[in-house]
């Protein structure tokens, strides 16, 4: 468990980090909490020549209110920061609660929201929440930067829309529309506590009890986190009762191709779990909605 030798840089500003990134190009890797990157380096599955540690860049670690009343979270905010933030607890309690379900205390103390999204582990918890909560990802490059909608972010197994020269700097969590309830439910992998399958639901219910919007993010089931669009469609415009939930949840895995099939769960079981946790997440989100 000794990684190959590498150079180590610890810049204190995003600008410096970008300069280093440009200088070292493909040979460099950004280091956030290190809880995904370092294990694969220790196994020598990843052998970067140079690590650029974002850990000393204080401008990347913050949680504040955004102009639209939503949240702006610095990429280097840890799960621990998010779990304990009064602002997150007030605005999106389900996100704070989910941060407390990631791995264990050590992982929560080191792992970051930026690292989790950039790494895009197929079993990561935050990718499901990111989809349900419609995160916007703010990035910086040496030249400029951009904002990436979450729906365009997860591309393939461990692959995102981020370019090698790009740093994810900030995560925007749009303000929840009135009447929105959010919930995240997962079956934890008994070894790692990653999600075998996890489903996040954000459901908006109008005064008349009709579902006006639904975003469902599923993680663990396939190579990337995805939205359960069939499920969303069934919920929207309906007065959601038990029968609707069942019908909607049963379709939660319908658009997931290449269901994961491994030591931890067969594809068949994952498909089933997706429907179970979709139902549970929807039920709980509904109980908080309206």
């Amino acid at each position: 468990m000794i990684p190959q030798a590498f150079d180590y840089y610890a810049p204190t500003s995003v600008a410096d980090a970008l300069r280093l990134l440009r200088r070292h190009g493909d040979e460099a890797k950004l280091l956030a909490g290190g809880h995904s990157l370092l294990p694969i380096m220790k196994l020598r599955l990843s052998t970067p020549q140079c690590l650029i540690d974002l850990g000393r860049i204080s401008e990347l670690r913050f949680i504040s209110e955004a102009d639209d009343g939503g949240l702006a979270i610095g990429a280097m905010s840890t799960y621990h920061d998010i779990k304990n933030s009064a602002l997150v607890q007030e605005r999106v309690p389900a996100l704070a609660a989910a941060a407390g379900e990631v791995g264990d205390v050590q992982v929560q103390n080191k792992g970051t929201i930026g690292g989790s999204l950039a790494h895009a582990d197929p079993a990561g918890d935050f990718p499901a929440l990111a989809l349900a909560l419609n995160f916007e990802l703010v990035t910086a490059t040496a030249r400029s930067g951009r904002t990436i909608a979450i729906d365009r972010f997860f591309r393939d197994l461990l692959t995102t829309a981020l370019r090698p020269n790009e740093i994810l700097t900030e995560i925007r969590v749009p303000a929840l529309a009135a009447g929105t309830g959010v919930a995240y439910k997962k079956l934890p992998n008994k070894a790692s506590h990653y999600a075998v399958v996890g489903v996040a639901a954000a459901i908006t219910v109008g005064d008349d009890g009709v579902c006006t919007d639904a975003r469902i993010g599923v993680t663990g089931a396939g190579p990337t986190a995805v939205r359960a669009r069939n499920t969303e469609r069934i919920l929207k415009g309906k007065h959601v009762d038990a029968a609707v939930i069942r019908r909607a949840a049963n379709r939660a895995a319908a658009n997931i191709e290449d269901l994961n099939d491994d030591l931890h769960a067969s594809a068949e079981y994952r498909e089933h779990l997706t429907t179970v946790f979709a139902a549970r997440a929807i039920e709980e989100a509904l109980s908080r909605a309206g």
Binding site: I2, D104, L187, A191, L263, A265, S266, H272
Partner: protein, 793 residues
């Protein structure tokens, strides 16, 4: 208890002496050893489960910076005098010769192939990547049940097959029992292989002195003296030139009994590069370089009468030994049929044990070693009979118990149970659990369409090994040296080297009580063969039973001599002669009968023992005694456990709601230490029931090869354990102790398994294999149907 002694410390919750040291980082684990000029070695391991080695090119690695030497398997083996010794060879058994490393053929993933020694850990690791090995992959054997079939590839050509042994025997007349039975239950039961994962992985440090030829080996072992014996033999050195040190060892569970290749490699490399060398296993390496446990397929048939009586059993047990037998690993599966009668009076049993070699890392002892597999069989059988006869599992057990007046009781399989009262333990467990209420609750839960299960077991196991015959050549004794110094303080040297059990505390309690000295005045030293001359070690829950008694025996000599010295001191004081019979030791003072104010202390006696001016003429100076003690028989702790589980029908997840553990380990020296052993034991046994399993693919690759893939329980997954005990002293040692290291692990697995099957029994489920993972239970529910409100109950 110790006859005529008022005990003060024995039985009390003395805090562990070793904890301040361990908690503040002052422990002396092998990897903490730092020596000037230390070099580090790394081991290249076979990535194939079975492959011929056609060539190894080490030139690039040897030329790599900071590398001191690179040796191939053949080069290491050449430097050994003998292959690994095996003990307790079974009749008709065949086995391959095993050397420290693979030279011409690798037989499991992880087998050492080459080693690099360098000036840093990182440099050694880097150079591994530069070694080129020309492997020719060979067909692989992974399935224990077919491994010995004629059409399977043969791992060791000279053996002609992969069969290590097939041992059949019977007691009584099982055929008659089956003919007379009202019915027969049967099942195939799987005991997955488990990966021990002690907190401290293995490590070794070696130093070699060229001028004298003396070597010192620091190593993570449960038994430094056996390590010395094996390593000295293999290295062709006299035992008295090899010093083995294992001061603090962070858990072992059996996987640190074996002498591993790395110990021999370390000494060889230290000699080769003329520097001390160190190797420390990392966690991922542990999975493929340290022996695994369990690994059986069990075919079980049990004949019963309608009233629930177990009449007879027929067992066929396959044991997956892995690629090699080691120490006494091959004998462990034979303990399974030996203990299969459990706590029950069944006399007619037939069994076949088939040990086979496969292309997997060797198997060895793992907490319970052979007995958990037995307890699992018999306790599942009791539930199968309960199910078949429609009786309560508690009633079926009681019907079959060996009665309490039958002890010592010789089982049909040749074990002599020392003492027990199974009803008493069961009564206590049922009362704590509120068994009748639980059954009522279960009924209601089923009406509600919920799955709740109650598992009950009553188990026993064998421990306190020896006598000598019980360890097959490793020795059945333990040694103790007790020394009183001129200040009256006591030093105890024990051969029973612990690896986390807390003997520095429990042994000090025994000595403090027995000699009447303060607990703080007793130092217990272990784990260094140059200080503690001989010993056997800590395994099979033998330490307190055998090691503790050895100390009592040494104390006897100490007390005799101390009393003689005290008599001389008192005579001098009183200026009179005394009848030595009148001088007694009480509360740490030697006093004259009827003259309570005329006494001498241990400090005075200790001082005189070395000063010596007042010693009687026929008395030599010194106050030190050595004793070797071998028990006349084995001990059999027992327990009654009850688990309550609930099952989430949607996901198949099992959650453990309650766990009641009533254990009887005879005399309890320190309840805190005993409870610690039970807590850890339960965690392991429950983990085995619900989570743990080593998984291989067809190529013999370990798929569950890291802690991200191999699930072990987290503390948060357990309810508060509800512990209690009964105390049935053992008659085979003066302490009355039975051993508690393995009991809870042994019981917990079948208890939880029984609870899960019980939760599903109304759906027609009679057996589910362990580990009872969520997916496995979900699949059972898929085939048997869910429990529905108002449905079957």
């Amino acid at each position: 208890m110790i006859a005529g002694q008022v005990s003060k410390l024995i039985g009390s919750r003395v805090k562990r002496k070793e904890d301040p040291r361990l908690i503040t980082g002052e422990g002396k684990y092998t990897d903490d050893v730092m020596l000037p000029g230390m070099a580090y070695f790394a081991v290249l391991r076979s990535p194939y489960a079975h492959a011929r080695i056609d060539g190894i090119d080490t030139s690039a690695a040897a030329a790599s910076p900071d590398v001191l030497a690179v040796l191939t398997g053949a080069e290491i083996n050449e430097r050994c005098a003998e292959p690994f010794p095996l003990f307790a060879i079974l009749e008709g058994m065949q086995y391959p010769e095993r050397w420290p490393m693979a030279a011409t053929k690798a037989n499991y993933v992880g087998e050492p192939v080459a080693v690099v020694v360098a000036t840093s850990r990182a440099a050694a690791r880097d150079a591994l990547d530069l070694i080129e090995v020309d492997y020719e992959p060979l067909p692989v054997v992974t399935d224990m049940e077919t491994a010995a079939d004629a059409d399977q590839p043969v791992i060791f050509a000279e053996m002609g097959s992969n069969l290590c042994y097939e041992a059949s025997d019977q007691a009584g007349d099982p055929d008659r029992a089956f003919a007379e039975a009202d019915g027969v239950v049967e099942a195939r039961m799987e005991q997955p292989r488990l990966i021990p994962n002690p907190m401290e992985p293995r490590a070794t440090v070696a130093e070699y002195e060229r001028s004298s030829g003396n070597a010192t080996l620091w190593v993570t072992t449960q038994n430094p003296h056996i390590e010395r014996m094996v390593a000295a033999k293999m290295l062709g050195m006299p035992e008295n030139k090899l010093r083995v040190i294992a001061i603090d060892v962070g858990g072992g569970f059996g996987c640190k009994i074996n002498t591993y290749s790395e110990s021999l490699i370390a000494v060889i490399l230290a000699r080769e590069v003329n520097r001390p060398v160190k190797w420390a296993e990392d966690r991922t390496e542990h999975f493929v370089s340290t022996s695994h446990g369990r690994g059986q397929a069990q075919y079980v048939q049990a004949a019963y009468k309608k009233d629930g009586t177990l009449l007879g059993m027929k067992l066929k047990i396959y044991a997956d030994l892995g690629a090699y037998a080691q120490v006494i690993s091959h004998v462990i599966p034979t303990l399974t049929p030996s203990l299969a009668p459990g706590v029950y009076g069944c006399r007619d049993i037939g069994w076949t044990t088939i040990g086979v070699f496969t292309n997997k890392i060797p198997y060895d002892a793992y907490r319970g070693a052979g007995r958990p597999e037995a307890a699992y069989i018999i306790e599942r059988v009791m539930d199968l009979i309960a199910d078949a006869t429609g009786k309560d599992p508690v009633a079926v057990r009681r019907k079959n118990f060996i009665p309490k007046d039958a002890f010592p009781y010789e089982t049909p399989t040749g074990m002599v149970y020392d003492s027990a009262d199974y009803d008493a333990a069961l009564d206590k467990a049922l009362e704590i659990a509120g068994y009748d209420d639980l059954r009522a609750e279960q009924k209601a839960a089923r009406k509600d369409g919920k799955l709740m299960g109650i598992g009950v077991t009553v188990t026993t196991e064998v421990c306190g090994f020896g006598p000598a015959a019980s360890t097959g050549g490793l020795g059945g004794f333990e040694s103790a040296t007790v020394r009183v110094d001129p200040m009256g303080k006591v030093t105890v040297l024990t051969g029973a080297s612990p690896h986390g059990q807390g003997e520095e505390t429990s042994f000090a309690q025994i000595v403090a009580d027995d000699l009447g000295v303060p607990f703080e005045d007793v130092e217990v030293i272990h784990g260094d063969t140059s200080i503690v001359a001989r010993g056997v070690g800590t395994f099979g829950s033998r330490t307190l039973v055998v090691g503790g008694t050895a100390i009592l025996k040494a104390n006897e000599q100490i007390k005799d001599k101390a009393t003689r010295i005290a008599t001389a001191l008192l005579e001098n004081k009183l200026e009179d002669t005394l009848d030595p019979q009148l001088v007694t030791l009480e509360d740490g003072l030697f006093s004259v009968q009827d003259m309570p104010d005329q006494y001498v202390t241990w400090a005075e006696v200790g001082s005189e023992a070395y000063d010596g001016q007042l010693l009687p003429e026929d008395e030599q100076p010194g106050l030190e005694a050595v004793s070797f003690w071998e028990p006349p028989g084995l001990t059999f702790p027992f327990s009654a456990h009850i688990a309550v589980v609930e099952i989430d029908q949607d996901t198949g997840e099992v959650s453990l709601k309650r766990y009641v553990s009533v254990d009887d380990c005879g005399t309890v020296i320190n309840p805190t230490l005993v409870e610690g052993q039970i807590h850890g034991g339960l965690a392991q046994g429950i983990g085995q029931a619900l989570l743990e399993q080593a998984v291989w693919d067809e190529e013999g690759q370990l798929v569950s090869g890291s802690l991200m893939d191999y699930a072990m329980p987290f503390a948060q997954e357990f309810p508060m354990f509800e512990l209690d005990r009964t105390v049935t002293p053992s008659p085979v040692n003066p302490l009355g102790a039975k051993g508690i290291g393995e009991m809870a692990t042994i019981s917990a697995t079948p208890t939880v398994a029984n609870a899960v099957v019980d939760a599903l029994s109304h759906l027609g489920v009679t057996h589910v294999d362990i580990p009872m993972t969520a997916e496995r239970i979900w699949r059972v529910l898929q085939t048997h149907g869910r429990s529905r409100r108002g449905g079957r109950s």
